[in-house]
Structures are given as structure tokens and as C-alpha cells.
């Protein structure tokens, strides 16, 4: 129990610090690398609460594929602008204000509704891992239609990305 708390605290602190660096750092390459830490923290959190399959998928898809895509994007669009990616000063204050107000509203609602409820309150024998077999059973029976729809979406996005990013002939 205590170990769970300590692990969560460490992961959460590292994640929040890295996330803040992602949105404030001047060097966009550093932002991508800090994003890796945040995504790894999310994966660790998933494993901590027993969502094994999603945790592994998080590592494979996000850290494996999405970050590489981001790095390619950064390298292909390098320009003088990268040296000055400081947030626009005239927009910094409204943005901070919006984020803080949003945070206050959400924290207020969460405290109001879920104060003091334990994560394993509904579970008689504590947090148990949800196995990959359970996930696949559910995914390929009840959620088969959304699953197929998402496959088509991925295919469409793939073709769309190629069509958008392709160089015009002779151009």
C-alpha cells in the first residue's frame, strides 16, 4: 500500500515537471525528449493500476511510433524560428489564466464528487491486474464494430497523410 503511494508520487512529480518543461522549453528538440518522459510516466501509471495491455501499447505506439514521427517532423521543419519558440508574451498571460481557471474548476468538481474515495473501493480483494485475455475478449465481441471502424480510420489517415505530404509532380 505504502509502496504504491510512493511509486505514484514519484511518477506523478516527474510527469508534471516534464510536462511543464514540454510547454515552456525554448528548444523544440528538448520538448520532444521531455514528452518521452511524460509518456513513459503514463505507461508506468497504467502498469501500476493493473492495465497491462494498455501500458505496453502506450510504450509501443507513443514512445515507439509517435515520438519518432515528432522527431521527423522537427527535423524536416527546422528553421530559424526554432531558436525563438518562446511563447508569445501577449498571449502568455491569458493562456496561464485560462489553464489555471480550468484547473480550479476541475479540481473543485473532483474534490466535490470523489473526495476520499479509494481506487479499490469496489474491489473486495484489492487492485487486480486486468489481463490481456479479458481485454481481447471484450474488444473482439462487444466492441468489434468500433474496432473495425478505427482500423478504417487509421487506413484513411495513412493515405491522407501521404497525399497531403507528397511533393507535387515536377514541383
Amino acid at each position: 500500500m505504502i509502496a504504491e503511494h510512493v511509486a505514484f508520487g514519484i511518477i506523478a512529480a516527474v510527469m508534471v515537471a516534464s510536462a511543464l518543461r514540454v510547454v515552456t522549453t525554448r528548444d523544440i528538440m528538448h520538448a520532444a525528449l521531455y514528452l518521452v518522459i511524460v509518456l513513459a510516466g503514463v505507461a508506468a501509471l497504467f502498469l501500476l493500476v493493473g492495465a497491462e495491455f494498455t501500458g505496453i501499447t502506450q510504450v509501443l505506439i507513443y514512445i515507439g511510433a509517435v515520438i519518432v514521427l515528432f522527431l521527423f517532423g522537427i527535423m524536416l521543419t527546422r528553421s530559424d524560428f526554432d531558436q525563438d519558440t518562446e511563447p508569445d508574451h501577449k498571449r502568455k498571460f491569458p493562456a496561464v489564466l485560462t489553464a489555471l481557471l480550468l484547473l480550479a474548476v476541475m479540481i473543485g468538481a473532483l474534490v466535490d464528487r470523489f473526495e476520499g474515495i479509494k481506487l479499490d473501493a469496489n474491489l473486495p480483494d484489492g487492485l487486480t491486474p486486468q489481463t490481456t485475455a479479458q481485454v481481447s475478449d471484450e474488444l473482439f465481441s462487444q466492441y468489434i464494430v468500433p474496432f473495425e471502424a478505427v482500423s478504417v480510420l487509421l487506413l484513411a489517415a495513412l493515405i491522407g497523410a501521404i497525399v497531403i505530404a507528397r511533393r507535387e509532380e515536377g514541383g
Binding site: 510527469m15 501499447t57 509517435v66 515528432f70 481506487l119 479499490d120 471484450e138 478505427v150 487509421l154 505530404a165
Partner: protein, 99 residues
């Protein structure tokens, strides 16, 4: 572990992402901030899935991850096209449709 600890972390990450989308001018960084927001949502889904002892949270999180991957692909293609046409990915300069 309290349910609220997970939800607070999700809320904080979400707000950091919102700040990034609003304040940054670099197109790629805005996409990264959107990833932060989507991950915050995933944390909430997983937390409630564990709380209610159902795999539905995991399944929805998987769908969100898939859609996020598609979104990054398209988004980066658009940013790339922007760079090719304008030699810059400063979103403030994308004002062609401004009235």
C-alpha cells in the same frame, strides 16, 4: 491509493496541455501539447476502469491512442506542407483566411 490522486494528475496534465496549445506558436509544439491532453484523458479512463473493475476503460483508452496516432500523422503532414509553402511553422503567420 485514492481515486482522486489519479484524477488530479489527469487534470493537471490536461491544463498544462491547454496552456501549451494556447501559448505556443510552433506548430509541432502545439501537436505535442495535444498529445499531453489526450494522455490526461487516458489516465482518467484507466483510473475509472480500475475503479469500476471493468476492462472498458482500457478499451476506450486503446481507441483514444489509435485516434491520437492518426491525428499526429495528419497533423504533422499539415505542418510539413505549411513549412514547404511558407518556410516557417509559426502558427501566427497562418492567417490567410483572416477577414
Amino acid at each position: 491509493m485514492l481515486l482522486n490522486e489519479m484524477l488530479f494528475l489527469g487534470a493537471v496534465l490536461f491544463c498544462i496541455g491547454v496552456y501549451g496549445v494556447l501559448a505556443r506558436r510552433n506548430g509541432v509544439l502545439v501537436l505535442m501539447s495535444i498529445e499531453l491532453i489526450l494522455n490526461a484523458v487516458n489516465i482518467n479512463l484507466i483510473a475509472f476502469g480500475a475503479f469500476h473493475d471493468t476492462v472498458m476503460g482500457q478499451i476506450f483508452a486503446l481507441f483514444v491512442i489509435t485516434v491520437a496516432a492518426a491525428e499526429v500523422g495528419i497533423g504533422l503532414a499539415i505542418v510539413l506542407l505549411l513549412y514547404r509553402n511558407r518556410r516557417s511553422i509559426d502558427l501566427d503567420q497562418v492567417d490567410l483566411m483572416k477577414g
